[in-house]
């Protein structure tokens, strides 16, 4: 402890206060500049300007610096809308939700697509570097006839349909997405799997030139996802080539992505270049990266928490308060029977 007598004595109260500040780590509120000036010498005008400049400079430096450190890019300016490819929906289909669809700007401006970057705004900002045409998809593994097919050809095999699905991200937010595409089951049947096929593995594009995020090793590239064959044959499993009646934007996984609405969003692999029918369960990217947090199944389940947060509730994008998360994201009637013999706590 510093005895009081140690403090140097000063003649004026103000200076004394200032000095105490330096000695002890506590800082008194400094006297406002405006209080110092009245009645000061002829230099006071210059002094006032100097103080004003220093004040403004410090505010700008500290405020700007903190802003720079902490600010995250907001929503990107809406990019030019891709051309229409489908018709607006007339009536809801059997798998559609009637909940209000997430606005296009948010569905295309708030995305997890680490191939572009880890920030939610990175995909929209950088999507122009992805060239979705020309694009081929390699089909191999346990199929009768392996092939490489152009995306436009593949798309022409099926009539395109709309699907308005809920999308629940493992991070605890959700959207309602008006996809356009075709059922995965139709594609699998057309590919003629052999008797050995038990799983479907999807591989995304590996190209650091088109995907700036792949220049770092945030995840093991390329992104790989997979489904059990019976999951893939569920009528809910969907391959999207469009969104809201338009060509799928780059940030949403152009030109071809998986949509499995009863699973967490990361299962919906984007920008697919290869589909492989396999005998063994595929090694999927997130399950490999953090096996304690993300599993192969990744079914939406309010009762099985993520180690770091509860999965019981979610925030629908555009809403301020949370809502309860539904079992299998509300698709229990359609897919629940697939998992009747599975311990969902172990197979998260």
């Amino acid at each position: 402890m510093i005895p009081e007598s140690d403090q140097p004595h000063t003649d004026d109260q103000h200076a004394d206060e200032q000095h105490t500040d330096i000695q002890t780590p506590s800082i008194q509120t400094p006297v406002r500049p405006s209080m110092q000036h009245p009645g000061e010498a002829p230099n006071s005008r210059r002094e006032f300007l100097r103080t004003g400049a220093l004040f403004t400079g410090t505010v700008a430096a500290l405020g700007g610096g903190l802003e720079l450190l902490s600010r995250r890019p907001g929503a990107a300016a809406e990019s030019a809308l891709p051309g229409l490819v489908g018709q607006a929906k007339k009536a809801l289909g059997p798998y559609d939700t009637s909940e209000p669809v997430t606005p296009y700007a948010q569905a295309t401006g708030y995305n997890n697509f680490y191939e572009f970057g880890t920030d939610k705004a990175d995909p929209a900002r950088l999507a122009a570097s992805l060239k979705p045409r020309p694009w081929t998809v390699k089909i191999d593994g346990e199929v009768k006839k392996p092939m490489t097919v152009d995306i436009d050809t593949l798309q022409s095999w099926f009539p395109l349909e709309d699907r308005i699905y809920r999308m629940r991200c493992v991070e605890g937010w959700s959207m309602v997405m008006p996809w356009l595409g075709f059922p995965l089951s139709a594609l699998i049947r057309r590919l003629n799997p052999t008797g050995k096929a038990k799983y479907v593995q999807f591989t995304a594009l590996l190209d650091p030139k088109q995907f700036p995020g792949q220049r770092g090793d945030v995840l093991a590239w390329p992104y790989v996802e997979g489904l059990r064959l019976d999951e893939a044959l569920s009528p809910l499993a969907f391959m999207a080539v469009g969104l809201a009646g338009r060509v799928l934007p780059g940030q949403n996984g152009a030109p071809l992505r998986l949509v499995v609405p009863w699973k967490y969003g990361f299962k919906g692999i984007k920008s697919i270049v290869r589909i492989t029918l396999t005998e063994k369960q595929p090694q999927t990217t997130w399950a490999q990266s953090a096996p304690g947090e993300y599993g192969f199944y990744a079914n939406v389940n309010p009762k099985v928490d993520h180690p770091r947060w509860s999965q019981a509730t979610e925030r629908r994008i555009g809403e301020l308060s949370r809502r309860p998360t539904l079992m299998f994201n509300g698709y229990a009637d359609q897919v629940g029977s697939l998992y009747s013999n599975l311990d969902l706590r172990k197979n998260y």
Binding site: I2, H19, I22, I27, R32, T58, S70, G74, G109, R322
Partner: protein
């Protein structure tokens, strides 16, 4: 404490330095205004819709980073003063510390809101479970708790009331808070640990500087001026 004496030694005999210090009256208010600027920007962004699709999450993240940044700046004051001999860093340390507490409190309030503690029925239970069950939340909560006594004893007269030694000892909680805060940030990030790593390194250097300084003092005790 030798540190303090050193300052006394440096500053006391120089009336010129004291006069210069008197002219720094603008500094404190500038730090407060500058430090609060991000709040103003957040409010403006909120009104204009520039907070993006998930504004709650965005404010949560930003106030968290602001807490670590201001806490880190407050911890940089003493090393900067000792290295440079300037006295002004000591004058802004309290303001930076209080800003850190303000941002930590805001961060916690946004988190409570996020979990529905003010609206829903499941909110409070979720928060209690989070704090007890999830290490990531636990360390963040402990960091906030350790900042509370510091904020409460940052007022005029607190040093005198507690006694300087006790006050100093209490305010070492800032070291605990910043380490817990850095761990909280690290654990909170899903995958890309670049930014948490930068904060951890800067904070590590600031804390290490203190250890080194203390070690040096033991080797070469500086002359005391107290009788």
């Amino acid at each position: 404490m030798t540190e303090i004496k050193q300052t006394t030694k440096n500053a006391a005999p120089k009336p010129a330095a004291r006069k210069a210090a008197g002219k720094l009256g603008w500094l404190g208010p500038a730090v407060v205004v500058g430090g609060l600027l991000p709040v103003a920007v957040l409010v403006l962004d909120g009104y204009s819709g520039a907070l993006g699709a998930n504004p709650v999450q965005r404010v949560e993240l930003q106030t968290g980073v602001l807490t670590l940044a201001t806490l880190g700046l407050s911890l940089a004051c003493t090393p900067l003063r000792l290295l440079s001999g300037w006295t002004w860093p000591a004058r802004i340390r309290k303001a930076l510390g209080l800003l850190a507490f303000l941002y930590a409190a805001l961060h916690f309030l946004v988190y409570l809101f996020d979990k529905g503690a003010f609206t829903g029925t499941f909110g409070v239970q979720t928060v209690v479970e989070d704090v007890l069950k999830r290490p990531f939340i636990t360390v963040g909560f402990l960091a906030l708790l350790s900042l509370i006594p510091l904020a409460l004893t940052s007022f005029r007269g607190s040093v005198k009331r507690l006694g300087f030694a006790r006050w100093t000892a209490l305010h070492r909680l800032a070291y605990l808070a910043v380490v817990l805060g850095a761990v909280h940030y690290w654990w909170g990030v899903k995958k890309d640990h670049t930014e948490p790593l930068i904060y951890a390194v800067v904070i590590g250097v600031l804390l290490l500087a203190r250890v080194v300084w203390k070690g040096k003092r033991k080797v070469m005790p500086s002359p005391t001026i107290s009788s």
